[in-house]
């Protein structure tokens, strides 16, 4: 197995773990952690492709830096929303967020 492949395997495992976390966890913060895993698996892909895929420019590295920044912004907004829900509903369980349905 060459280097690129081993990185891609790691990123696929991370991606699957992220999906698994989002589907099985009921705690909103745990779901957010799953989303972070997916974003980081994409980051590993970008860096691995750039380093071992025979590319000359640094597009992939730069992409990763932007994704890290955006992931932080998204996490900040999502945590603020979860805190607000906790104040009003007293829980961060997504199953209890069920006023809207139909």
């Amino acid at each position: 197995m060459n280097l690129l492949e081993s990185y891609l395997v790691i990123s696929s495992i991370l991606f699957s773990l992220g999906i698994f976390g989002i589907v099985t966890r009921r705690n909103a913060i745990a779901i957010l952690m799953g989303i972070e895993l997916i974003l980081n698996s994409a980051n590993i892909n970008f860096v691995a492709f750039n380093r071992f895929g025979g590319m000359h420019k640094l597009d992939g590295h730069i992409f990763t830096i932007f994704v890290i920044v955006l992931a932080a912004a998204e996490a900040a907004v999502a945590l603020a929303i979860i805190i607000n829900l906790f104040k009003n509903a007293g829980s961060v369980d997504v199953d209890e967020a069920n006023t809207l349905k139909g």
Partner: protein
């Protein structure tokens, strides 16, 4: 083009950035605080002026990150009109509290900037950044009513679904980068033509479609739509129903036609490597419109009903992707303009009812025909147009879309599904009309007249009158759309 010489082509966006900053600064000066809305409108006016001056310009700017072309220009007009009209009615909405006005305006304008970038980006990095620039302020706007549990839930569901979809899309983008070695969509197309394989193209296409499909609320990524639409403040819902959707279609058209066709431009005739995405879109269109219509049937909440109706309209618009060619795109953009007018007029009237009667259930609309005959009459026009009956533009739009299928002689079954769906949709649109006009004998409703704020009234009337106008005379619109169907490199 280098960064410095690009600035000359970037004036509308620069005006927008200055506008966002000045709205925030004005709020800090106590004597100027009342001027927030007027300043926003003046800024949007200047923006429209700058946009008008850049008509027909074609250029690839900021090291090919974004482009200025007639195609993005067309969408920018829709975004500016939508934002300006929503800001106008939000000023008089009870759901947007006075103390939150500055956040509301600046977040709305930030979304507008993101929409501009979505319509014009040609680089994977820029596409991702633009989508996130639209999404993150949208999450906040959905939760604008801080002490309202429904609003909190709406924003929680939006943020979870939204970041999940954009995560999947990012994973797809990383694979696309890996197999092509570039983030520029033109280079990606060139690289895929020389060395690519069908499986990888399929896989990355699917992943990317999750992200875009979520933005336009295409089934099976529509789950967030009804909840978010119901829980958000009504003006925000009205904005979500047109702004991000139009941008989603813009980016979908640009990416599909540039990367995933044989020619890499709007003149394309067949998909890349026989990756049959026209069939995928035919199935998704049928599923989307059926789900939207059948779930709308038993809704009692007007906002939720309009959310499902918007899903079914997205299904209709997806018909345009089952045929590759400019004719299909003309029909799609035409329908988008019509959809813009009819859905916004319906939502503006819903905002008015919410302001006056504090209700968004269909039963709460009872007797509206007696209390305000003018507004109810125009609501009927919008609803007839949404249902797609003559004499309204909704009929012309549906006619154009179905004509695409018949002219290309493909997917007749999809045309049948679409026609059956429009018949089903009559039921729930007429449920609202029934509630406004017909009362049971034993029912008592107040007959006291409802006063409408003149700005809200005239915006609603103007928008629903457009649907009548475009039924009788739509040639200029079609000509404008035909001129707009051109990328910067063609």
């Amino acid at each position: 083009m280098s960064n410095f010489s690009s600035i000359a082509y970037y004036i509308p966006e620069l005006i927008l950035v200055i506008l966002i900053l000045s709205v925030i600064v004005i709020d800090l000066i106590p004597s100027l605080q009342d001027l927030k809305f007027p300043v926003a409108f003046i800024g949007l006016g200047l923006l429209a002026l700058a946009l008008n001056l850049s008509h027909g310009v074609k250029a690839s700017i900021f090291m090919d990150l974004i482009v200025v072309d007639p195609f993005s220009h067309f969408f920018k007009w829709i975004f500016v009109l939508a934002t300006a009209s929503i800001l106008l009615v939000s000023r008089y909405s009870v759901e947007v509290e006075e103390e939150n006005h500055v956040e509301y305006i600046s977040l709305m304008l930030m979304i507008l900037l993101g929409l501009f970038l979505m319509a014009s980006s040609t680089n994977l990095l820029m596409i991702y950044l633009a989508i996130e620039l639209v999404s993150i302020p949208s999450y906040i706007l959905a939760g604008m009513k801080k002490n309202d549990r429904a609003s909190n839930e709406a924003s929680l569901k939006y943020v979870i679904f939204g970041s999940f979809a954009s995560g999947l899309m990012l994973f797809g983008l990383s694979w696309l980068y890996g197999i092509s070695g570039s983030t520029n969509i033109l280079d990606i197309h060139a690289a895929l033509l020389t060395n690519g394989n069908q499986f990888l193209v399929y896989m990355s296409l699917m992943m990317i479609m999750v992200g875009f499909g979520y933005k336009i609320s295409m089934a099976p990524f529509h789950y967030w739509t009804p909840d978010v639409y119901e829980g958000s403040p009504t003006p925000v819902t009205a904005f979500f129903s047109i702004g991000p959707k139009a941008a989603g279609f813009a980016i979908l058209i640009r990416v599909l036609y540039t990367i995933f066709t044989n020619d890499g431009s709007l003149n394309a005739t067949s998909p890349l490597y026989d990756v049959n995405w026209t069939l995928i879109f035919a199935v998704l269109a049928a599923i989307t419109m059926t789900i939207g219509n059948f779930l709308a049937l038993h809704q009692e909440n007007v906002k939720r009903l309009l959310a499902f109706s918007s899903i079914s309209h997205v299904g209709f618009m997806l018909i345009a992707f089952t045929v590759i060619g400019t004719e299909a795109l003309t029909a799609l953009l035409f329908y988008l303009v019509i959809y813009f007018f009819m859905t916004l007029s319906a939502f503006i009237i819903a905002i008015f009812i919410k302001n006056k009667l504090d209700t968004d259930t269909i039963d709460g609309w009872k007797g509206l025909a007696i209390r305000n005959p003018l507004i109810s009459a125009f609501m009927v026009i919008s609803l007839v147009s949404l249902a797609g009956l003559p004499p309204t533009a909704g009929f012309v739009g549906k006619f154009y879309l179905l004509a695409v299928l018949f002219r290309a002689k493909t997917f007749y079954w999809l045309a049948v599904v679409a026609i059956l769906n429009s018949i089903v949709s009559l039921y729930y649109y007429f449920k609202i009309i029934k509630s406004m006009y017909f009362l049971n004998e034993e029912e008592e409703v107040s007959s006291e007249p409802l006063e409408v704020n003149p700005y809200v009234k005239w915006t609603a009337i103007l928008f629903s009158a457009q649907t009548l106008l475009f039924y009788f005379y739509w040639t200029p619109l079609i000509e404008f759309i035909n001129r707009s169907l051109s990328f910067w490199n063609s």
